[in-house]
């Protein structure tokens, strides 16, 4: 095959190159020429195009994301911040935790099973790359209308993919979300989160330092998976003319990933690497350029040594291949023999593909001919930055001015019907039909998983130190007011951690939006980032990393702005956690926080076709005081149970609590309809022994949080004022939705 070498590029400056087909704009192509002082070779063009794509370069979001560092609160816990594969936080006792959430949206629409599976695989490798043992996964999912035919195809594939891959890795799935909305039809969101744990001294970074050190590729052989996928994916919407550019699908091998995890951890334990990077989007292009730019010198790679699954691949294709389950490590020559030995033990393919040099260029050869010769930072970090225009879209004023008109249940018949209807609706219905397809027990450290407010895993078996994680997004609120929506999602995720007694420590995020080329979408994005950065500063929580997914739209219709916020918290002794529900009669139920008429963006409004109105205003200082009450309630053993109120309000919170251990409750509500359906943020239901009443009142008073007595636990019904709903009937309503739709 004829190869476009650097020499050839110098000799043939006027060759016409398909930069536009690769997603590059004319000015971007011109800049590449300027950087190199010549036209790029086709391999260089492939690298730049894929690394300068929206997905890899964050070119539209960068200017906004800077706020996460600019407004970052002082946090002693932050060990590794934004910019690495995943942020790392100190959780005490010498342990560090890393966590990150990442989207795999478009691939999951094209091929749901493999899209979701490789999404899990990718985020797990990101966590592994930091030097951590992955300990749990979670996933936040959005689909089109629950009863649409294509939703069935996508949902069943995604669930099977997450389960098929995650179960085979031996990582407990500890929670997540499933939400349906028509804007996600054709644009499902698959956001996968992984948590990993390590000792402080084990943290690894993506850097190639030390001239003479070896560049080692290990894991799967390279095939034609997803070539051009990343670049083309994030550059084109799925419009009428977009289909030709859909990528070839990447196929995952979870068994190989499991072996790769164990093999890598053994390598890390013997301290055999100086730097490491996984191969994800943009494959070798990304790994080599990022490792080289993270280091001090240059790098030399002999591309023809890369082991191939398909021998017909060209150098350009090898550079762009997104074959899964591959890692790239920088290893000192004296450690290489042991490195190879460990790979042999695990039967993992390993190849020396190059070395670190003392120059400042990334040089890639193909059978000794130079095909890439670039300054690595220009590929990995100094890509284009766009200050895209943004302005408040027209719909905002309109929807905010809308007066919501929904029936407020009042009579006994209406109240009963409302509770059952909320319990049944797909967004609020019991998700165990889905979560029972995921392994939540493996590793033997799972303390909480779905349907608890947060997932919780034990980190140390002797001290019982643990971490809790929650992901939350309320796209209905973000649609009405993206600034408030982001803050409210942050508050909810933090509250979900704190109800169990864990102290919120750090934030990750996955920001899912439509096209950044639409000024209205860009405004939603800018407002979201501003809200999240302000919120994190106010709550003292550092953002440790995140992911942006643009172009989630079909033709002109964008998805609802969907910032998924993940909060991680730490709990010193998991045995002391506050459970989500009660299992005995005679406890008293209290509501922490006040209820207002917050119907805009609520599930009740959504069920009645209402999307307008104004969101609640996030009061984060009050949220922080509420968190203190929750933490005190746990540490002082005041609470027998605590459960967060969110979508579906008190009606759903009570439903979930009484069904959890089949222990009923009897409550009296002054303003029954509004009390049940309102989604005022900053509220938690707690159960206490009556002897604890005065302590509760004292703590609530100390932190200035309103409390209201709701009723008592016991019986085999949920009784609201004079309305008695037998638990069996409530359970039937709550649990039958998913099997009926998807079974």
């Amino acid at each position: 095959m004829s190869v476009d070498t650097v020499l050839n590029a110098q000799r043939t400056p006027d060759v016409i190159q398909p930069f536009a087909e690769l997603g590059l704009k004319p000015d971007e192509y011109a800049r590449i020429k300027e950087i190199l002082g010549r036209r790029p070779t086709s391999s260089e063009l492939a690298m730049y195009s894929v690394m300068w794509s929206e997905h890899c370069s964050y070119k539209s979001s960068k200017v906004h994301l800077k706020q996460f560092e600019g407004k970052a609160p002082k946090s002693a816990a932050l060990l590794v911040g934004i910019g690495e594969n995943a942020g790392v936080v100190d959780i005490g006792q010498g342990y560090a935790v890393t966590f990150k959430i990442e989207s795999h949206n478009h691939p999951s629409f094209v091929e749901p099973y493999q899209g979701a599976a490789t999404g899990v695989g990718g985020i797990v490798r990101d966590i592994l790359t930091m030097g951590a043992r992955p300990i749990a996964v979670m996933d936040s999912l959005r689909f089109g209308p629950a009863d649409a035919l294509d939703t069935r195809r996508v949902l069943l594939g995604v669930i099977a993919g997450i389960g098929g891959y995650g179960n085979c890795l031996g990582l407990p799935n500890i929670g997540g979300e499933i939400v349906f909305d028509e804007t996600y039809a054709g644009n499902p969101l698959v956001n996968a989160l992984c948590v990993g744990v390590m000792k402080h001294s084990d943290i690894k970074l993506a850097k190639a330092v030390g001239a003479g050190n070896l560049v080692v590729l290990y894991g799967a052989k390279t095939g034609g998976d997803g070539i051009g996928g990343v670049s083309v994916l994030a550059s084109e919407t799925f419009g009428a003319n977009g289909s030709a550019k859909r990528p070839s699908v990447q196929v995952g091998d979870p068994f190989l990933e499991k072996v790769l995890i164990e093999c890598s951890l053994e390598i890390f334990a013997e301290d055999l690497v100086v730097g490491i990077q996984d191969l994800g989007g943009a494959g070798l292009s990304c790994a080599t350029s990022e490792l080289a730019s993270g280091g001090s010198g240059g790098m030399k790679i002999a591309l023809n040594t890369v082991p191939l699954r398909d021998s017909s691949l060209s150098p350009e294709e090898i550079l762009m291949s997104e074959s899964q389950e591959r890692m790239c490590a920088i290893v000192r020559p004296e450690n290489i023999a042991r490195f190879l030995e460990i790979c042999k033990k695990w039967d993992v393919t390993v190849t020396l593909i190059g070395e670190v040099t003392d120059g400042d260029r990334l040089e890639i050869t193909w059978n000794d001919q130079i095909i890439v010769d670039v300054p690595p930072r220009t590929v990995a970090h100094e890509g284009p930055v766009y200050n895209r225009p943004f302005s408040q879209p027209e719909y905002i004023n309109g929807v905010n001015a809308e007066k919501i008109s929904v029936p407020i249940p009042n009579s006994a018949v209406e109240v009963r019907a409302a509770v059952l209807k909320l319990a049944t609706t797909p967004n609020l219905a019991d998700k165990s039909w889905v979560t029972s397809q995921y392994d939540r027990y493996v590793q033997g450290n799972t303390i909480q998983s779905q349907p608890d407010d947060s997932g919780m895993v034990r980190v140390d078996e002797k001290t019982h130190l643990g971490v809790a994680v929650s992901t939350d997004a309320n796209a209905n609120w973000s649609y009405l007011n993206p600034y408030q929506g982001a803050k409210l999602a942050l508050a909810e995720a933090a509250r979900n951690i704190a109800t169990a007694g864990a102290r919120p420590l750090a934030v990750t995020n996955c920001l899912n939006f439509g096209s950044p080329e639409d000024s209205g979408v860009m405004w939603q994005f800018a407002e979201t980032v501003r809200g999240l950065a302000d919120g994190c500063l106010e709550m003292g929580l550092p953002v440790t990393g995140g992911n942006v997914s643009f172009y989630n739209q079909t033709d002109d219709v964008a998805i609802l702005p969907t910032p998924v916020i993940g909060v991680l918290g730490v709990i010193d002794d998991v045995r002391t956690r506050t459970p989500m529900s009660f299992n005995r009669a005679g406890l008293e139920l209290y509501l922490l926080g006040e209820t207002h008429e917050d119907i805009a963006g609520s599930e009740w409004a959504f069920m009645h076709g209402q999307r307008g109105g104004q969101t609640p205003i996030a009061d984060l200082t009050r949220e922080m005081r509420l968190i203190e009450v929750l933490l005190a309630g746990c540490s002082e053993k005041i609470f027998s149970a605590a459960h967060d109120l969110s979508q579906g309000g008190l009606a759903i919170a009570l439903t979930e609590m009484v069904l959890r251990h089949s222990t009923g409750a009897k409550v009296h509500l002054a303003n029954v309809g509004m009390d049940l359906i309102s989604e005022t943020p900053g509220r938690v239901v707690v159960a206490i022994e009556s002897a604890k009443t005065s302590v509760l009142i004292e703590v609530a008073k100390k932190y200035d949080i309103a409390i209201t007595k709701l009723g008592t636990t016991g019986g085999s019904s949920l009784t609201i004022n004079e309305v008695e709903i037998p638990l069996d009937e409530l359970r039937q309503a709550h649990t039958s939705t998913f099997p009926k739709l998807f079974g």
């Binding site: 031996g170 979870p254 397809q437 995921y438 027990y441 493996v442 303390i447």
Partner: protein, 222 residues
């Protein structure tokens, strides 16, 4: 007393099984799939997972691992062996136990807290229980439907070799609700649900799985 816990590439529950062995009072010894001797262990556990990816059939490749050659040999001579989930599949593929585990009837992977009744307390792994005792331990698998021909089923039933049965609705289509079986000698047990995930109510649905690990200690002391 030493209990070996085998790790094949793709084994997932080896750490859990190790923890359970220790909780049961024995010493746990890690065995690697390539090992050709059993390091002097008194019993062996084949834990759950997806050995070698389970791409061909569950347990089909693991059966030919070097460590299995020794286990098959010694199992036939009376070495106590407990196969959990994938381990049960390996034991069937190795013909140490009859029958086979096939896809769940509804084709979905299923992870849930499962009630089972212990029906044979004469084996090396079940003596801590009482006959008919009902326990709740996790069930989690995609291919847990126990199948065999009628003659085998009749033999299993008439010889009392069904050691555990699902209580209530059949979770996966297993014949006669079979959750676990033993060989004629009672030293080899295959069990689909996971007792190693139920040794502490903090992390499992109960601590009722512990009985399998205390049983082996009793059997070895005897």
């Amino acid at each position: 007393m030493k209990v070996g816990v085998v790790t094949f590439p793709g084994t997932l529950d080896d750490r859990d099984a190790t923890r359970a062995v220790i909780a049961g009072g024995a010493q746990a010894v890690g065995l690697w799939h390539g090992d050709v001797d059993l390091k002097g262990v008194d019993a062996v556990i084949l834990p759950g997972g997806f050995s070698y990816g389970d791409y061909l059939r569950c347990g089909a490749i693991a059966r030919f691992a070097p460590v299995m050659e020794v286990i098959i040999q010694q199992g036939k001579r009376g070495l106590p062996v407990l196969g959990i989930c994938n381990g049960f599949q390996v034991l069937c593929e190795s013909h140490l136990l009859p029958g086979a585990l096939t896809r769940n009837a509804d084709l979905h992977f299923l992870c849930r807290d499962q009630k089972i009744s212990i029906e044979n307390i004469e084996t090396s792994w079940t003596s801590s229980f009482t006959r008919g005792e009902e326990i709740v331990i996790p069930l989690k698998n995609g291919e847990g439907s126990f199948q065999c021909d009628d003659a085998t089923l009749q033999a299993l039933e008439s010889e009392g070799r069904v050691i555990a049965r699902y209580v209530g609705e059949n979770p996966n289509g297993s014949r006669n609700l079979i959750a676990g079986i033993t060989n004629t000698r009672g030293n080899i047990v295959g069990l689909m649900p996971h007792p190693e995930h139920a040794i502490d109510p903090l992390t499992g649905p109960s601590a009722q799985g512990l009985g399998f690990f205390t049983s082996i200690l009793n059997a070895l002391v005897k």
